[in-house]
Structures are given as structure tokens and as C-alpha cells.
């Protein structure tokens, strides 16, 4: 059940290339499951709210980690403690968490966001984290994950931190010798597509992105092409999809 409510900003701070925004919104925090998102709006300009994965929940406070890429995110980045925003959430189909040992999480850039809560829920299962970015400025401090994950593998495209290259490379090497119960991934669509290819028959739980208007299923504006049922809504039928559902060749 999603709630439409006001929330108060309790913290805004830069974290490397991102902004971490914390908002008190108890009802959403109580019900949120990892992989779900919220629509956030800070005024009437831009007109439409913007979708963000819920990264953390802590005592009624939701935290988001986002990249300032345009009007909406720029507006959110300029919020101050005490400001009020409108929130709709929690939204979307969460990651499944009833899985076996050593599940794998693959994050690209800002795609790390949903894995904070997921790692917490999976901590008894010794998850592994593969985390890639273009430069080290896209790799958030992984201290949080150290106590929850059995292994953390980092990569940057320029080699400034960890493995040099795409994160899908060490991920592919790992998969060549191990069979995890499930692979979770969140990041650019090109990365997700590669993850799905490498995964082969291992089940995947991929968090997809699409431009959204409503975020709760009523506009059918956020669709992606899927095999069985044609165009499906990222906001309500997803954002988490299995890699074999998606018609990658038709995805722009």
C-alpha cells in the first residue's frame, strides 16, 4: 500500500558525485521493502515528481542517493534541512529476498542505491557485491557493506579504484566458477543487459529505469518491452524484472 504524504528533510549532503537526501516519512519507512522506490516532488516546478530508489531506512527516515542530472534532481539537491517535500511510496515490486546462500549484487554507479537495504536483508546469506563506476568519484564508501557482504569487488573504467574496466568483467569471471542462487543488478541498461547475458540460466532480478509521470500505474507512460505480455509498466509491474522477460533488442 502506497502512501501520499509530506515528509521533512532531515539531511542533505554530497557524497562524492552524488547527493544523499534524508526525509522523515514514517509510514513509508515502515512498509518499504528493498528494491522499492518513492516519487518525490519539492514544488510545482518541475511539474512531475521524480522516482528514486529507497536506499536506507532508519527510525522513520528514508534516505536516497541520487545524481544531479537535470531540473528535478537539481531542485532536490538544493533542498535544506527542515524543507517539506511530497512523497508517494513505497512503490513497485521489490526484490525477492527468500534466496539461498551467496547471492550476487551487481551495481553500476548510482545503481548502488537499492542495495543498501537489500544487503541488510540478505546479511545472513553472505551476499557478494560487484560495484562499478566510471571513476572513483562514482564509488561510494563501501564501509556499510563490509560487515554485511562476504566479498566486495570494485571496478572503475579509468582504473582509479579497484579493477580497471567494466564491473561485468570480474562478475563474468566469478560466474564462470560459481553458481549463485540469484543475481541482483541495478545500473545502466547496457550493464543490465550484459549481466543478463552472463547470467545464463541463473535467475536475475534487475532493477530497470524509465521516465515516469505517475509512478503508480495509471499513465502507462513508463513501459519497457517484455516477451510475454508486451509493454509492461516499470513502476508497477517492476522496477524489478527477470532478465529473460525483457526484449533487450527493442529497449532503447
Amino acid at each position: 500500500m502506497a502512501h501520499y504524504m509530506r515528509g521533512m528533510v532531515t539531511a542533505v549532503r554530497p557524497v562524492k558525485e552524488y547527493v544523499r537526501l534524508s526525509i522523515k516519512a514514517e509510514r513509508i519507512a515502515e512498509e518499504m521493502q528493498p528494491g522499492q522506490f518513492a516519487m518525490i516532488s519539492a514544488g510545482t516546478e518541475p511539474l512531475l515528481p521524480r522516482p528514486f530508489s529507497i536506499a536506507h531506512v532508519d527510525r522513520g527516515v528514508l534516505s536516497f542517493i541520487f545524481q544531479d542530472v537535470g531540473r528535478g534532481t537539481g531542485m532536490l539537491a538544493s533542498l535544506r534541512v527542515g524543507d517539506s517535500v511530497r512523497l508517494l511510496g513505497p512503490l513497485g515490486k521489490p526484490f525477492r529476498v527468500d534466496v539461498g546462500d551467496r547471492p550476487v549484487m551487481v551495481a553500476g554507479g548510482r545503481g548502488i542505491a537499492p542495495f543498501f537495504e537489500l544487503a541488510r536483508r540478505l546479511s545472513g546469506r553472505s551476499p557478494l557485491l560487484f560495484y562499478g563506476g566510471r571513476t572513483q568519484a562514482q564509488i561510494i564508501e563501501t564501509g556499510f557493506f563490509v560487515r554485511l557482504c562476504s566479498e566486495i569487488i570494485v571496478s572503475t573504467e579509468d582504473g582509479g579504484m579497484g579493477h580497471k574496466g567494466f564491473i561485468t568483467e570480474p562478475f563474468a569471471e566469478y560466474l564462470a566458477k560459481s553458481t549463485p542462487p540469484v543475481i541482483y543488478a541495478c545500473g545502466p541498461h547496457a550493464m543490465l543487459r550484459r549481466v543478463a547475458e552472463i547470467a545464463g540460466s541463473v535467475p536475475t532480478e534487475l532493477s530497470m529505469e524509465a521516465r515516469m509521470a505517475c509512478g503508480y500505474g495509471i499513465c502507462i507512460g513508463c513501459v519497457i518491452p517484455t516477451g510475454r505480455e508486451g509493454y509492461r509498466r516499470v513502476c508497477l509491474d517492476g522496477p524489478v524484472f527477470s532478465g529473460d522477460e525483457i526484449r533487450w533488442q527493442d529497449l532503447k
Partner: protein, 311 residues
Amino acid sequence: MAGLEVSIGSLRLRNPVLLASGCVGYGEEIAQFVDLSALGGIVVKGLYMSPRIGNPPPRIWETPSGMLNSIGLQGIGIHRFVRERLPALRQGGATVIVNVCGETDEEYEQVTRVCDEADGIHATELNISCPNIQENGRCPGMSQEHTYSLISRVRKASSKPLIVKLSPNVTDVAAIATSAEQGGADAVSLINTVLGMSIDTETGETRTATGMGGLSGPAIRPIAVRMVYQVSHAVRIPVIGIGGICDARDAIEFFMAGASAVQVGTANFMNPVASMEVLAGIKSYLARKGKKLNEIIGTCQIGRVQESEPG
């Protein structure tokens, strides 16, 4: 609630606030936030005889104070709607209006027939104005002749109230409204989206996959208010105002321009309870002014000059 009922043909609406087609799906999701039985009605997403897959993404793009959409009338078809979605709407006590689509006049008639026979559908709204489907956005609602012949034909297929939804993408909307009235419409609703286009200057590609899109939201409200004003002076049947309504003041503008009821569309995307807020705001406005709804309809004054009324 006394003083808020509105008649559309034989149908009595509880109050003048409805949900606009394509902006609330089939009602299921918005029912989490809104008591549908407390509203005047819900106009469900446009339906053809068969299911339609709709247009490829990207389908939406935000523009100044508005948005472009090119959904392509994705839908489950009238039969599946009646079987799978209507029962929940009936149970929830909603006044249900089906937005009827067709690729041909015959299809409009067939869909209308199905609606006529289905218990729990209270009226139909003929979507003669969807800019997305046909080439160059052409549709029956762009010509007086086609509007008249289509409405006359569909009118015979149904004993339920028939609303005709008008396109703003015409030179003389009042003339089209008159043709709809002559064809037998019980009411007209307007406006549908305004055809628009936006281009990514980095890539040269249009922002929506199909090129053009329908513009909606506050950006189109002045166009809609103007058209409602023109149409309400040209026809005797009730006019339902649509276009960028976000709060009660917006709705009251439409009443003063001549609308008897309004529909809330894009605002549901920003605020799932927008329609309830509009309704509550209308009630308090009327209470504050000590007036009934019908006492404010069509009361707008053009400066001090009284315009000569056509017809």
C-alpha cells in the same frame, strides 16, 4: 450533497468532478487513494474492441508546466474490461463512463453497443479526438461532416448517455461541437490533448518515439477555458471542461466559462488525491459565496463588455 448534482442526459452525477480518461487507467490503482463513489464519475482509459499494445517507449516527456504523451491507446479491449475490471468498479460504487475508441466508424459503434449492454457502465464518452493513432493525428473530430455522421450512427447503438469528447486540434471547435449536438450527443467534453512535439537538440531525435505527442497539464488550461467558453455559447447540451485542472480554483474557472462538470487528468500524476481536493475546494468555495453550482456556471464577464452571442 445538495446543489452539486449534474445531469448528463438521463444520468445524474453526484457532483461535477470526474476523473479524465487515460489519466486513471481502469481505476484500480487510484482507488487506493480516492473513494471513487464520492466523485462524480470515472472515465476509464480509451477502449477499442480488441486489446492494443500501444506505442513503443519513450512515451512521455515533461515540458514547461505540462507533458507530452504518446501512449498509443494501449488497452485490454472492451470485452476484457467488462469481464475483468468493471466488477471492482461496480463494487466500489463508481459511476463508470467508458472512453470509446475506434479505428473505423463501425468499431466505434461496436464498442458502444457492448457498453450499452453491460450493467455498471453508466455512459460512454466517444473519443473522436485522440491525436496519437491516425496518421498526422487526423481523427473524425477534425471535420464537422465526419463528426455528425459518426455521432448519428453511434447514437442509434445506445440508449445510455453519450458524451462526445472534442479535440482542440481544429480551427473551429464550436462548429464541431454543434455537429456533435446535431448528431445526438447528450454532452460534449473538452479538451483532449493538444498536439505537440519536442526534440532533443543533442541527438536530433524527437522526445517521444512516435514523433508527435499530446500535450496536457496546466500549460493547456487557458486554451481549454477559451474553448469551453466558445462551445458553451454554441450548444445547449452540457459541457464538461478538461485541461490542466489541479485545484478548485482551476475547476471554477471552467464553470464560469460555461462548463457544468469537469474532469481531472494529468493532476492525478502529481497528486493522487487531486480530484478529492478539487471537490472539497468547490464545496467550500460555494459555501463561502453562498451559491449553488448552477449559479456560477457561465457567469464569466468579458471585461465590462457583453459579447454578442452566436446562435
